[in-house]
Amino acid sequence: MAYVGKDIPHDSAIGHVSGESIFIDDIPPARGELLCDFVGSPAAHGKLISVDIEEAKGVAGVVAVLVAKDIPGHNKFGPVVKDERLLVDDVAEFLGAPIVLIAAENRDALREAKKRVKVEMQPLKPIFSIDDAIAAKSFLGPQRVIARGDVEKAIGSSEYTLEGALEVGGQEHFYLESQAAIVYPGEHGAVIVHSSTQHPTEVQSIVAEVIGVPFNKVTVICKRMGGGFGGKETQAAQPAAMAALVATLTKRPARIVYNKDDDMRFTGKRHPFKSWYKVGFDKSGQITALSIDHYSNGGCTVDLSLAVLERAMLHTDNAYYLPNVRITGQVCKTNLPSNTAFRGFGGPQGVANIENIIEEIAIKLGKDSLEVRRCNLYGSEEIDPQIAQIHADSEEKNLRKSAQSADEISSRLETPYGQIVQNNTLPEIFEKLPATSDYEKRRQEIEQFNRRNRWQLRGMSMTPVKFGISFTKRTLNQANALVNIYTDGTVMVSTGGTEMGQGVNTRVRQIVADELGISYDAVIMSATNTDKNNNTSPTAASSGTDLNGAAAADACGRLRNRLAEFAADFVFNDGEAGIAASAENIAFEDGMVWDKRRPDHRMTFEQLVCRAYIERVNLGERGFYATPGVDFNRETGKGHPFLYYTNGAAVSEVLIDRLTGEMKVTRVDLLMDLGNMINPGIDRGQVVGGFIQGLGWVTTEELYYAANGELMSHSPTTYKIPNVGDLPPTFNVALLDNSNNTVSLKRSKAMGEPPLLLGISVWAAVKNALSYASEGEIPKLALPSTGERILMALTSYMKERVAESA
């Protein structure tokens, strides 16, 4: 029985529904365990003058009060650039930056001690906004460029041009389980760290550096996370390092669990962007040239900002061919917690920009944005309908097509960074989705509705996604997996992939069961553990299953070959029956093993591995996988960064109250190409969940800061993530039948991040709705399109009209 392709319930399903699943703070306290918390900087930017911890030390139950100089190893760290401090030693760069670390036996003592720490700072001028950072030239890293063609000239000779700026907001991860770690001290300076992290190897290296031991003395274990979404890729390391510091210095177990408010206030978020663009296009809406300058708000340190910016730049084309293009990018340094990875990793910000531009082109030309999108799509390599038509139809009726040779059209496959778009399923999606979602008919209804209705507005838009799969940093595209077979025939697998609900463990179990021809129940996944899998990549970039599944399959392949050889030589080798030993003929299926030439002569997998063990055959294997062919040169902005693309599109419709600005999403139709899904149930869950998260980002999730840089929206009472009331009443999710993705494991496609970008269709629908009220003017709309912003836009049109009629 094959398990790949089946709806196997989530690996942790029973534990989750029964409350038995253990998250970090569910681990029972160990003897002598200490609770940790920190006192942070009262200023967003300030120089530390003095710290008085004497009184705090005196609080009963307090065991340690630590400052930067107590750190035995380095205080400096960072995933890319070592510009972060565990504890502020000189200048604090964001409000709440940890200065004093406190460990106590109980929560009351901790609270009391926090109050008694006295910090004196000399405030320095802070920078919070992208505009202020640009004015002050406060940047992190160099400006990057991806370019092709003579953009200035092409824009100059374009029939139409548009320019403008788009502000795209950040997003709080709001994983339900806040950052958490427990550290147990071991012998000779070693520590065991339980961390809610997407990147155990990173936690390992930072903990090691902070406590001043080699990497091999730090073991990091992650059983699962209560959500990650990118927020635990690099930023799980700080709490783990704090607990490790306490455990090392006190020789007692130490636990740190941020409360939700602190987690929201003091950890990084999705990068806000501000981008300035200038676009040239022809009367059909086809883009002739695009120049765009992205600025992201990186917060106070580099963290992953450069890679996030890079992915934003690499996704500024989204699904569209841009013949002449210049995309620049620069990370702004501000006095906010360092912004970090968030599902989509810059991709959504890049895509929001081009989709905004497309909407504006459509409004300017008075066309339906679907038409504009269609004529800008990348071609599809094998059966390019445009090429086919040109060859077949020498009369070339279509104006636009006649202007181009087949060669020129076939070159509509090259991305600005030089990678050729292969197996593009978007033209097919653009055929199917408008039909299944009744696009044309609804467009007419919407137009009529908006003409007649004074109090409400409707809008609709279809936006696609072409999401590049692979880490753009080549090194990270590797994984190892350990597969151990025990003599009862059961198997334990460990990989570097961490489980945050996305189902990587379930999919790897399915793959291993199939590869070894045993039952799914005979395979279990161990917690992700740096002493089993070393130098692992973060579980990120949607690639958790692609990489770790492939590594596990590699291990299984070698185990199976070894067992087949053993079986052929020792078990099924039957000279008398005239059957020569032949490993190729050994079959593994349904927990049974046999020689295909003698199907009636079978033994169980358990019997085989028992015999193999007795005959001293190695029953463990380590698999490895490195994604072939991917590479990208960030200096030149050229390369082949992605193994393949995951495609999809969404049509969203919204209804707006003209008097209050209240917006409701009334219908969403999604169509995605996920190849051959490994676990359709879980994969669909990723699509729906990702879309909803994107919907929140573009509509209600607004980060609001006070003038001193303090985040005011730091709990679900003030920060609005989607709940059941925000779901579209009609929500159709369909998947394209496609098994062409030969480059990936089991012809599947990664789906962790791509559906989030489809949320942008809702924002585009709002912009579309506003265009009916603005009467030909291009409505200016920032992202998220909160009710307040919608109302302000609507009011401005009303004012204009009142002014006109007066």
């Binding site: 319930p9 994983y175 149930g681 879980i682």
Partner: protein, 206 residues
């Protein structure tokens, strides 16, 4: 603690004070609370705390007791004092429903309920929803419909959905939406939660 009815009155006052202490943080120290307690003691009902007192709670049919401070929420008491960590705390202020448990059959946010107020009542948590090895139909259908991803909202979500089915054998989709309207799920499992709950309702009727 003797009768539950008189206790309720006291502890509501206690709750207000407790909330004041947490919110005001540095401003009001422990001494302020004691002073207030002493001053109002002769007039009003008996003031308890702030020192721990012995509290007994009936959780999933079993009597359990622990020494806890009166300001302790039920969520904290369950997780910290009674080692029942199935109930999750996220926002700790009644805005996410991750901490949902039943009190006398009604779903409540246990982070907004004082443990002492739950004395003498029937508390049911996620750990007590299954009958031995037999999962509650809602639990079963959550598995069947992949109605969970990371699982952190799941205990609260299931307690909300199962409570609905205890009271309403024929829920509509809207009923399920209303029942889960306070439950936040960042993984976005909502549509699957609806499917699972409606399927469980069918199963319970059959």
């Amino acid at each position: 603690m003797s009768t539950s009815s008189s206790n309720r009155g006291i502890s509501r006052r206690g709750f207000l004070k407790g909330a004041g202490v947490t919110a005001a943080g540095a401003a009001i120290g422990e001494s302020a609370v004691v002073a207030f307690a002493e001053e109002s003691a002769p007039k009003g009902p008996k003031i308890v705390g702030p020192k721990p007192l012995s509290v007994s709670l009936k959780v999933n049919g079993a009597e359990k007791s622990a020494a806890i401070e009166p300001r302790t929420t039920l969520a904290e008491a369950l997780r910290v004092n009674l080692d029942m960590t199935g109930t999750k705390i996220v926002c700790d202020r009644g805005a996410c429903s991750a901490c949902t448990v039943w009190i006398d059959g009604t779903p409540v946010n246990s982070c907004m309920t004082l443990a002492i107020d739950a004395q003498g009542k029937d508390i049911r948590t996620i750990e007590g929803l299954a009958m031995g090895d037999t999962l509650h139909p809602v639990q079963e259908q959550f598995i069947e419909h992949d109605a969970m991803q990371c699982g952190f909202c799941t205990p609260g979500m299931i307690m909300s959905c199962a409570a609905l089915l205890e009271h309403n054998k024929n829920p509509s989709l809207d009923d399920v939406k209303t029942a889960t309207s306070g439950n936040l799920c960042r993984c976005g499992t909502y549509p699957k939660v609806f499917d699972a709950t409606l399927a469980a309702a069918k199963m319970m009727k059959a």
